[in-house]
Symmetry: C2
Subunit: 356 residues, 2 copies
């Protein structure tokens, strides 16, 4: 594969970046108030175009190293035992737009995260039924969306090891928050992989392929790696790093989004999540002084956790931040961790406010 | 009012512009394939934050110069005769991001347009029931969303003349495409004003006020005016200028979105609309040679019109454009019309393709 690398961008943003930001959708941060992100507010990162798939003629094919390869129609999948998973999904590139130099891609500030309930069939049921062979090393998920990235034409495809793929909560979803899957979220069927960054949850699924090697597709072998220098092999992006966000308090300026808050007691509200274990602690800083926030009960093993903190706001300009710690002991850094392609930026959020 | 003007931006985009592009949502152009834009793909321009309104306690107040001012709850409105209007809505700032210098605001490329069916109560029914007085010159619509723009704190409010407000198809909508209105689209109730740019369709409606003067709110008197030089009074933005877009053919590059198309016969598909009368003609240009597209039947007085064109694509690089003409005789220009604040850019779309 003749990979074409894109030169990093320094400083202000290019028209290509803005075109991606306009096409794709972030979750406005005030929507952190919802346990489940309402329809149309869940973030969207669509690499190519939303394909025009006909549910009536659509089939999911399971093929490759399987003793019983076969096709499944949507109605058959709907008749199988269903499973609903509540999960927080974050784009691996979330926060990329806050860095410079940065890789030419979607310039997320911090809105590339949301939580939904996905309903479908456990992938393990289909893999068992297809009798995947013991020699299988990876399960590849092929989407219907096609285009060029890094100079190479391909359909969007990703793989998982059989061990990851067989987790109960890995689901082939045909519904989202109790409603039929929308076209932009992968209808008629998508994969959802809890705890992992969103790139693993392949949309517009058409084909599942069991192979005995390592999948070398563009989105698996070239993109979605942590790299400290361009061109190195790097480490694959997998589970979401610990992260947290707050609802910016007060009211915004339309342009610049700076917040104005009334002096007095302010209830801060946010969410924290991690793909590496339960969120164990959230801290909030006002002008650099950290204190513990109040963590609410877990909303499930794969969902963000709600937190609150009280702040006696005094007149003047202030900087609010929040940071979470997960069960693995990982804490959010205060500055963006360096990555060539801008993946995994879980630096603590900053919210600038004026109290009056 | 002490208006603060923002300095124009030249060339590349600022972080404030990208933050707005990430927060707000455009309609990906492949969604021009849908007669009605599916939930979650309708464009969104949210000036401040999505307010957290409780439907149970929410009331719409009609007040000011009315003989029977009163409050309406949502259930009462739902029991009144309902009306469904199919309408195309476009942001007045659509296309702003293609210009330089440009006003610091949402840097739309061309995705700030969509079509939905809105269901609710004709505004005229409520105005008649409230017995608006003959001295009324404007009806003001106050939303619950609040913040700063141009240095002035305000809730989002806009006005219409009684004549415009009494049009049958001006609706107070509680449903969109047959489903309850979503929070980001103005739940529990919003105004929809067919044929006008989107700024007239006030979301999160709380109060309708009949006044005997000209409303001087920020979004009415300062913003949403066509101006050739900063500071002049200008002409208010009202009805949508004639405009059209095509689904970019072929497959995209992820970054840059350049299209690759197979040589041979290509079916081009698009939509055209105008707030000033029926679309009468659509033309398509390949490398500057214009020819008529095929117009399909009207989809209603306020909805975009579907069009198709066949193109025998020859290998190489090509530029595709489309432009519409409406019943008033207005034709889309080939270059963006100059406007200080970047409103009303209806220049003919350009799509760069490589045919292989």
């Amino acid at each position: 594969m003749a990979e074409k690398r894109r030169a990093p961008i320094v400083g202000r943003y290019t028209q290509e970046e803005v075109a991606l930001a306009t096409r794709n959708s972030g979750m406005p941060l005030e929507a952190l108030r919802y346990d489940l992100t309402p329809a149309g507010l869940h973030y969207l990162l669509i690499h190519f175009d939303i394909p025009a798939l006909e549910t009536a003629s659509w089939m999911l094919r399971i093929e490759g190293l399987a003793s019983r390869p076969r096709d499944f129609g949507l109605e058959e999948l709907r008749r199988m035992p269903s499973r609903t998973v509540r999960m927080t999904m974050e784009c691996a590139g979330n926060g990329r737009g806050q860095t410079s130099p940065r890789y030419p891609s979607m310039p997320w500030m911090e809105e590339g995260v949301s939580t939904a309930e996905w309903t479908g069939v456990s992938l393990s049921i289909l893999l068992n039924e297809s009798k995947i062979k013991p020699s299988v090393r990876e399960i590849v998920f092929h989407g219907a969306d096609r285009g060029f990235d890094r100079g190479i034409e391909h359909s969007y495809s990703r793989s998982l090891t059989p061990e990851e793929a067989m987790r109960d909560d890995v689901v082939l979803a045909y519904a989202m928050n109790g409603a039929p899957l929308l076209p932009q979220h992968g209808a008629p069927l998508r994969l959802v992989v809890p705890d992992w960054y969103g790139m693993a949850s392949v949309k517009w699924l058409e084909r599942i392929e069991a192979i005995d090697g390592a999948f070398d597709g563009v989105q698996q072998a070239l993109s979605y790696h942590f790299r400290s220098v361009a061109g190195e092999k790097g480490m694959p992006c997998t589970r979401m790093r610990v992260n947290s966000l707050m609802v910016p308090p007060g009211i915004p300026d339309y342009f610049g989004r700076r917040r104005t808050v009334e002096a007095g007691m302010v209830e801060l509200l946010g969410r924290a999540w991690s793909g590496d274990g339960e969120v164990k602690r959230v801290e909030v800083a006002v002008d650099g002084a950290w204190q513990d926030a109040k963590l609410e009960a877990s909303a499930g093993p794969h969902a963000w956790r709600r937190w609150t903190a009280r702040w006696l706001a005094a007149k003047g300009a202030h900087e609010l931040r929040c940071r979470a710690t997960d069960a693995s002991g990982a804490v959010q850094p205060l500055e963006p961790p360096w990555d060539v392609t801008g993946f995994g930026n879980n630096a603590a959020q900053k919210v600038e406010v004026t109290v009056r």
